[in-house]
């Protein structure tokens, strides 16, 4: 009937209090890579969940697959139709083995009492992993894998199905460059086989590399569908945010003050070794490296939640012992973790309660009870200055989109007025508009006298915010670069080889193993 594999028209979705999608359309042709793009909270994941049968759209929706009424009401319907999905927030079973995770989902299409063929499960898994060129123990429970490996398993699972349409909701958010390359290769193979792909990502470069067409959403509304060839980054950004944004290398303009923070010879077995660096007032220090190089562990050690370790931490020249996160807050250290949903926020609590949590002590009245007025004022202040949308401080944090959630976490930590702010993957899964806002904010905080440490795997980001860059590799500092000498290339060399020498490029097929995660 039509040339389209998938047609979704007049799709709306109302959540209590939010209209996540408003009359959106999405049309996908067989064998194309269709990018779905929009700011945080634009409604991408929601649209995908409707496609997957997890959410029912509001009445009036038209939904065709292969020219026929799709009739997808439950996830299993989508699976049976040949739609397989890689979820943004992963949907693995932590307690089950890698092999089973990959296989899971087919089983349920068959009878409950059917005997399980473990051999077949392993074969299927092995094949899927091979396609992605991933090496993990098939019997390892998934909870023991790194986030990056988990993401690969999630991808492998989607590949293992004989799908006609594969949806990838931010599949690369935790992957290293090498792994991303492999994924591109797989995507190309799939295309050749006529399989359509919907690809969601905030990394524009990536999107231009893989996609044939773009559908742009803005605030739950449909902006348009475009051929990739007709677009460039600037145009796309304008479509997404309705304005032009810049994202360029930091010029290193801030003059740093005294050393406010210093670590000396920090070591923890299996985590990091002999880490020494200092941080000056007003400086943004970038720490980068490959995923798995130990940056998070280092940051969490400093914050008092990854103990015990050896070495010395000095604040304003004084040696301090940080025994717990409570201690850290007292000493003026703030840490914004990489996982918003599990570590950063308490999703089922209100924005107010989240923001005030670290500073409850200061919000007490004479009786030692919380002064609700002060508390609300505090939350209002950060919701406003950080432009959290919707600006409803009483809303549950879990109802916000990713970018807005991150703003709440930042607000929470700013409320403690920290001397040292450590921020881990500050813009993971956040759209470009919000990203630049956050970068600006970090620069501003530094200029106001805070010492800021930014941990990030995204090199453009590191270059955009840092005054100085440390590169970690296998738990050690491989090198230090001032912003003036730093380029993506020399950072990569430190990260991969531990030296400034060139020689290895991002195309290196062995990149995946370089993550060095012992199994």
């Amino acid at each position: 009937m039509t040339e389209y594999l998938l047609q979704m028209n007049h799709i709306s979705k109302t959540f209590p209090g939010v209209k996540a999608l408003d009359n959106v359309m999405l049309e996908v042709k067989p064998g194309e890579v269709h990018a779905l793009i929009g700011e945080n909270g634009a409604g991408k994941s929601t649209l995908i969940k409707i496609l997957a049968g997890i959410y029912a759209p509001d009445p009036g929706a038209e939904f065709y697959f292969e020219g026929k009424e799709a009739g997808i009401h439950k996830p299993i319907d989508a699976t049976l139709k040949g739609i397989s999905i890689i979820y943004q927030d992963l949907s693995l079973f932590p307690n089950l083995s890698v092999a089973e995770n990959i296989y899971m989902g087919r089983e349920s299409t068959s009878k409950s009492w059917k005997k399980i063929d473990w051999k077949k499960i392993e074969e299927t898994a092995e094949k899927a992993l091979k396609e992605l060129d991933v090496q993990v123990d098939l019997n390892m429970p998934v909870e023991k894998l790194s986030i990056a490996q988990q993401q690969l398993i999630e991808i492998a699972r989607a590949l293992a199905f004989d799908a006609k349409l594969i949806v990838m909701d931010e599949p690369t958010s935790s992957l290293s460059a090498g792994e991303v390359e492999k994924l591109y290769k797989v995507i190309n193979d799939l295309k050749r086989k006529g399989i359509a792909i919907i690809f969601v990502s905030h990394k524009l470069k990536e999107l231009f590399t893989v996609s044939d067409r773009f559908t742009v959403l803005r605030d739950g509304k449909f902006v348009g569908t475009y051929e990739t060839n007709d677009l460039d980054e600037d145009k796309l950004i304008t479509l997404m945010v309705g304005r032009q944004v810049l994202y360029e290398k930091n010029q290193g303009i801030i003059k740093a003050g005294n050393t406010i923070f210093e670590v000396k010879g920090l070591s923890k077995e299996g985590n990091f070794r002999d880490i020494s660096f200092e941080l000056k007032q007003g400086e943004v220090l970038g720490i980068t490296g490959l995923v798995g190089s130990g940056r998070t562990e280092l940051a969490q050690a400093i914050f008092g939640v990854n103990r015990p370790f050896t070495g010395e931490i000095k604040i304003n020249g004084e040696t301090v012992k940080v025994r717990s996160s409570e201690d850290a807050v007292k000493k003026g250290i703030a840490y914004i973790p990489e996982s918003r949903k599990t570590q950063g926020l308490i999703l089922q609590q209100s924005i107010i309660n989240n923001i005030s949590l670290p500073v409850l002590k200061t919000l007490r009245n004479a009786l030692g009870l919380i002064n609700r007025k002060k508390e609300t004022a505090l939350a209002d202040h950060y919701v406003e200055t950080l432009d959290v949308r919707p600006a409803l401080p009483k809303m549950e944090a879990g109802q916000l989109s990713g970018g807005n959630q991150q703003k709440v976490v930042i607000g929470k930590w700013l409320s403690t007025k920290p001397k040292i702010l450590i921020i881990d993957e500050p813009t993971n899964g956040i759209d470009i508009g919000a990203k630049t806002e956050i970068h600006k904010l970090l620069r501003k905080l530094a200029s106001e006298g805070m010492g800021v440490i930014v941990i990030s795997s995204e090199l453009p980001e590191v270059l955009a915010v840092s005054d100085r860059i440390l590169v970690m590799r296998h738990g050690k500092i491989a090198g230090e670069l001032s912003i003036n000498e730093a380029t993506q290339e020399n950072i990569m060399n430190y990260a991969l080889l531990g030296s400034k020498q060139t020689g290895v490029h991002r195309e290196n097929p062995d990149l995946g193993e370089e993550r060095g995660i012992p199994m």
């Binding site: 997957a52 997890i54 439950k74 996830p75 299993i76 699976t79 999905i85 979820y87 992963l90 949907s91 693995l92 079973f93 932590p94 307690n95 089950l96 089973e100 899971m104 989902g105 089983e107 349920s108 299409t109 068959s110 009878k111 409950s112 009492w113 059917k114 005997k115 399980i116 123990d137 019997n139 390892m140 429970p141 023991k144 077995e269 299996g270 985590n271 990091f272 070794r273 798995g292 190089s293 130990g294 562990e297 590799r473 296998h474 738990g475 050690k476 060095g516 995660i517 012992p518 199994m519």
Partner: protein, 327 residues
Amino acid sequence: MKSILQSKEMSIVAIVVLLSITLSFVSPAFLTFENIFDILKGNAVLGILAVGMTLVIITGGIDVSVAAVTTAVCVMAGKFLTVLPDSPISILLLFIVAPLIGVLLGALNGILVSKIQIPAIVVTLGTMSMINGIILYLTNGTYLNSTSFPKIFVDFANFQIFGVSVIVFIFAIIAVGTWYILKYTVIGREVLAVGGNKESSIRAGINFDKVQIFVYGYMGLLAGIAAIAQLSYTKAVDPNGLLGFELQVIAAVVLGGANILGGRGSIMGTFLGVLLLGIMQNGLILARIDIFWQKVVVGTIILIAVSYDQIQYKRSKDKLAKIEVEA
């Protein structure tokens, strides 16, 4: 490269072995064939229920009505037995009727938990209270004893194979059968999947409601079979005999390493948990520990066991080198 599951079981194995060695020094009667099988027989009802509870707990649920359901089946099946003729058919009928009643009661829990989405502990607290009340109202606590049962049942209850009571065999069959279901059937894997991550399981197209109704129904089924074991064991119906037993069942399962939050648990672990409780009960009398101090000893052993297990678990997690740090 042991999985957490295995290492969890290791620590309870260690405790069971340690306790057994101590006891066999203290009392020569402990490590005898007869005593070991008496322990198994004496804890078969606990074991059967704990096996069912393992599944429930793996899905992240709990069933505090098990003892009430088992008693209800005991009472009904007991009444039923009194009218049955003295023929092998009666045993067969018993094995049909008792599990059937159990399944019905269990499925009721399952439906309330899955369809109305009431937390399992509350549903089962409610049904426990209702079932207990109804049993008490109807029976008024009246006993039935072996004289009311057909002789064939008493023979069945006393039946032994190689000197091992039929009750132990029922337990063994249930344990192995359930292990098989968990490991080798689709529904078994779905039970684990649902417990591991509910959201993911829904996305993978697993019928979450069906799995829940299954586990509570299966719990009911095993309660029905446990009722037969209980009837065979006591050769009587004591409407108060299992009051408060649910806590022991849960204790056995969690001692066996099942995670009360779901996702983790094994039949082997549960078996060891049952064994640990059984050995403690038995051993304290054999070792002639002062009556008044027995509970102190049991409580202390439980606390040591769970703490040791947790410390062990934390250590193994810490040891797992996260990053290959170059020298």
